[in-house]
């Protein structure tokens, strides 16, 4: 089963990298960019589990390692092909 965990910075947490990317897009004349926040995507393959089990496993993975919940939020999508 395929799944995806997306980790993003919480609102209000400073993102210097996002700011730099935002500045670079502006200097490339990409029009209409108001702001950029950088995050991470983890594509994970799980050995034959039910969607419910997969959700639980990924929550465990996100809490234990993938995200630092002091500054980051995470979102789990199961069965994303």
């Amino acid at each position: 089963m395929k799944a995806r965990v997306t980790v993003t910075l919480k609102n209000g947490v400073l993102d210097p990298q996002g700011k730099a990317i935002e500045g670079a897009l502006t200097s490339l004349n990409v029009a209409g960019v108001k702001s950029v926040r950088q995050g991470k995507v983890f594509d994970i393959e799980l050995a034959g589990t039910s969607p419910e089990q997969a959700e639980a496993v990924l929550k465990d993975a996100a809490e234990k390692l993938l995200a630092n919940t002091i500054i980051e939020n995470y979102r789990i999508e199961v069965g994303a092909d």
Binding site: P16, I70, I71
Partner: protein, 233 residues
């Protein structure tokens, strides 16, 4: 003072800190591998050195914080044992939950490698008894992710509890954004755990312990620890 220095894959300041410990305490520290499950018997002080453990993959210190030896370090700290994390070691302590907050990318995005001034906020801890409260010391920093961040509530709590041990200031001990180059919240350079026995700091006191380098301002930290254990013995 029986010190143990933990080596992770990608640590690179372990010999600097081992050299400083030997020089000041007269005793060679034991080097401990990250995959070990136990610290040497009778360890007084655990040091997590600087470097780039696991290539800074995922987040700085995130993977090292989950290494087998960290359970032993947690146990040591829970029993009141002293722990210091320097630079990457500080990042590892934050990621392991032994210290509050997290170290983020420097505000200017640049890797900073230079001397900074630190104000020693209090001298009544085992880590700073070699200094006077309010003393300003000059030590080097070398990091890309040293921008200390914690929630507003956490910052309020650690300030109230006197857990900010070192702060970036100017040469006179005054806070100034210009001298807080990585953008750390409240100009925090070093922070203590709730029981004041775990210290994390971004700068490298171990690199300023010899006259030939031009400064011995870092020596007080190691000398203070030696005095602490000499008194305890």
């Amino acid at each position: 003072m029986k010190a143990a220095v933990v080596i992770f894959p990608g640590s690179n300041r372990e010999r600097d800190v081992a050299r400083a410990l030997k020089l000041v305490s007269g005793r060679e520290p034991t080097m401990v591998w990250h995959a070990d499950h136990e610290l040497p018997q009778g360890t007084d002080l655990v040091v997590l050195p600087g470097g780039f453990s696991y290539g800074d993959y995922l987040r700085c210190g995130a993977i090292a914080a989950r290494a087998p030896i960290m359970d032993a370090v947690r146990k040591h700290a829970a029993g009141g044992g002293l722990v210091i994390g320097i630079c990457n070691g500080f990042q590892i302590l934050c990621e392991s939950g032994l210290l509050p907050g997290i170290l983020q990318r420097n505000v200017g995005l640049k890797f900073l490698c230079k001397d900074v001034f630190l104000k020693v906020e209090r001298s009544d801890t085992p880590f700073t008894r070699g200094y006077n409260a309010g003393q300003v010391i000059r030590v080097p920093v070398a990091h890309g992710e040293g921008n200390y961040f914690a929630s507003a509530e956490t910052l309020e709590q650690i300030e109230k509890e006197g857990r900010v041990l070192f702060r970036y200031t100017d040469v006179d001990g005054k806070r100034d954004a210009k001298w807080n180059a990585n953008g750390a919240s409240n100009a925090i350079a070093g922070v203590l755990s709730e029981k004041l026995n775990v210290l994390g700091l971004m700068p490298h006191p171990e690199n300023h312990v010899e006259e030939s380098i031009g400064s011995t301002d870092g020596r007080g930290l190691f000398a203070g620890l030696v005095a602490h254990f000499a008194q305890a013995a």
